[in-house]
Amino acid sequence: MSLAVVEQAPGHHEGAEEPDYIRGKSGVMSWVLTLDHKRIALLYLATVTLTFFLGGVFALALRTELLVPENGIMDAMTYNRMFTLHGVTMVFFFMIPAIPGVFGNFFLPIMIGAHDVAFPRLNLASYYLFLAAVCLGVWGMIHGGTDTGWTFYTPYSTTTTTTVLPILAAAFVNGFSSILTGVNFIVTIHTLRADGVHWMRLPLFIWALYGTSVIQVLATPVVGITLALCAVEHFLGTGIFDPARGGDPILFQHLFWFYSHPAVYIMVLPAFGVASEVVGAFTRKPLVGYRMIALSTFGIAFVGFLAWGHHLFTSGQSAVDAGVFGFLSMLIGIFTSIKVFNWVASMYKASIVMTTPFMYALGFFFLTVFGGMTGVALATISLDVHWQDTYFVVAHFHFIMAGAVVLMFLAALHYWFPKMFGKLYAEGPAMVGAVLVILGFIGTFTPQFFLGNEGMPRRYYSYPAHFQWLHVASTIFAYILFLGLLLTLVNLIVALVSGEKAPNNPWGAPQYEWDIPSPPTEHNFPATPVINRDPYEYRGEGIIENAH
């Protein structure tokens, strides 16, 4: 294997170094109207950082209220609004767009040897739809917010007097952003792979984005129309979900979860993809089970469409339906474990380089395994009847959803930071931040499993006094988590401002994207490259100093 070099095309004007994508153009307009996938990725990064912060503030408010059994810092109504806004912000404005919007946009073209996505203008349009959704959502929040929960269950959501319409509209618009991104990514993967990048050579992050995009295109329209029905009903009293007019609220739940169960894979598959990249980079040997990891993505995506009924076990489903849905849900556990086993096998007897991204990956494995196992437990109908609508469910989905998405978002941010910004961050504080974040997650949600098992219902602002110590423990760790995030943010900002210049491949990682300059040039490659090796073929050179 030769050293990684992208040679200049024969006729390419020598010497005329193309400037990098950040310095190439300047001025506000060059950013807000950019068609460059890398700049659009940075627009997403700025926006999701803000929404994550917003969602985090809501979360801390919730946890602070729960320090005491009775009315603490807010009344019941405020609490209801808080948890709704926390859920809406985190799910629709952070977890769905975060990894595809930022890292998908930045690295998808680079990883397949392309100069950009297939439809750059559509890409920018997706971003602005997302931004419009966020603005609509925030506008709704300023006008009082809503108290329906992020699930918008009818008939409550069609009768509540809070400001639900702009928030429904925000989720609807956000859906279209997500659909268009999905279309763009699928077409890009199909039509813009450079010569040599055949299907079994696609980096696993790309496979993950492919699976995600399929779900985005096929599931999102269903929730879009469902939320539209809900909004029209709220507005005009059409009665489609209103029992008083012959409508059926359970139909809403079916349609909602037909999207929202697959949507959890929209959130988690990109995180799985990042995990594969991080394991591939730091284990210093080729990934074990490339094909299995790639194919299990589609197992998850497919079965994910057939499992929605596990959210309706106690909503009046027939026993047969419940049994089938329970069984199908458990299949997802099998596909997920295929990935986990392959990651673990890749680490076995490897000379692991312990870095911040890898630390996050370890935390992610822990949370995913326990989050996944509790999911399988929840899919067992007899157990779910006990746990439904308790803190056990809250802990389950925070372990797997927040744990996986947030940790892998941070892993990706650290892992690709040198490539994206051309700067190195300080490893020490980053590692401390990672440990705090991971401990914070585990500590915040572990007590909630116990709370739920003992019967603490979700979405209540008060509780019997004997639950207090578990709630206090959870809150303390939530603050530790917040501290870890702050430290991480400060550390990265410092790196942005005064970090050392990053070489092309500071990690000595085998993947293609490390072969081009840090930060990349505007069109990524001087000419369309030919890629003639597999993505995780570790070449053993150690750190490749400035291969270019």
């Binding site: 950009d116 750059p120 279309v183 699928i186 040599g196």
Partner: protein
């Protein structure tokens, strides 16, 4: 990743070819493929509504057929023929743009979008009569007393209005899109070597028609 690179600097680059694509054929394929995916999205969009339709029709078969009787089947049929005809004209437009016959293409596009507008006008007239007969959805449902319609017929009208209005919005968007394409065509933007917009605009229009082909029997002919 190394050595040989493809140099596409030597071949003449056609003006419509964007930098991220190596050749026109791929770019055309990408646009078409993107449109197909988008149409898949549209199908899912409407299929949720068909679920609601199927569920409530099964629940209230009598109320459903009684309400259906009050829709204007003649108009529905004319609208169907109209849209089928427009699907034919847009297909012909694609055929002629490929042959480089600019004027015929423009005329055919014009006929197509005129059909779209005719559809919207006819459907608006239907809505207007339904409004006068009190056949509006949900809480606006006040049919004439002599009709003895059960309350559940309101659900039929809810589904009918929601679905057909959504479809009409699609027709409206289609008319706009075809209008822009027609203007581009008159300005000479398309040639046998490049007619992507006409092709994918046509695809979209076919889907809009196809959805109507489902809606017409489901709503007008259930009785």
């Amino acid at each position: 990743m190394h050595t040989e690179t493809i140099d596409h600097g030597n071949a003449e680059k056609p003006p419509h070819l964007r930098f991220q694509f190596s050749d026109s054929a791929r770019q055309f394929h990408a646009a078409k493929f993107g449109m197909w995916l988008f149409l898949g999205q549209e199908v899912m969009f409407f299929s949720a509504l068909l679920c609601a339709y199927a569920y409530y029709r099964n629940q209230f078969p009598v109320a459903w057929s009684m309400a259906s009787h009050h829709l204007n089947t003649t108009f529905g049929l004319l609208e169907t023929i109209n849209l089928l005809f427009s699907s034919f004209t847009v297909a012909l437009a694609i055929h002629f743009v490929r042959l480089g016959k600019r004027t015929i293409t423009s005329v055919l596009l014009f006929v197509t979008l005129a059909c779209g507008i005719l559809f919207l006008v006819m459907h608006s007239y239907e809505y207007y009569t339904e409004y006068h007969e009190g056949l509006l959805p949900g809480r606006f449902f006040h049919p004439e007393a002599g009709w003895h319609m059960p309350m559940e017929s309101a659900m039929f009208m809810s589904c009918y209005f929601f679905t057909t209005v959504l479809h009409s919005i699609h027709v409206l968007i289609g008319v706009g899109v075809l209008g822009v394409i027609m203007v581009f065509n008159m300005k000479g933007k398309y040639s046998p070597a490049y007619y992507t917009h006409v092709e994918i605009g046509g695809l979209y229009w076919h889907l809009v028609d196809l959805i109507w082909i489902f809606l017409f029997p489901l709503y007008y002919l259930v009785a």
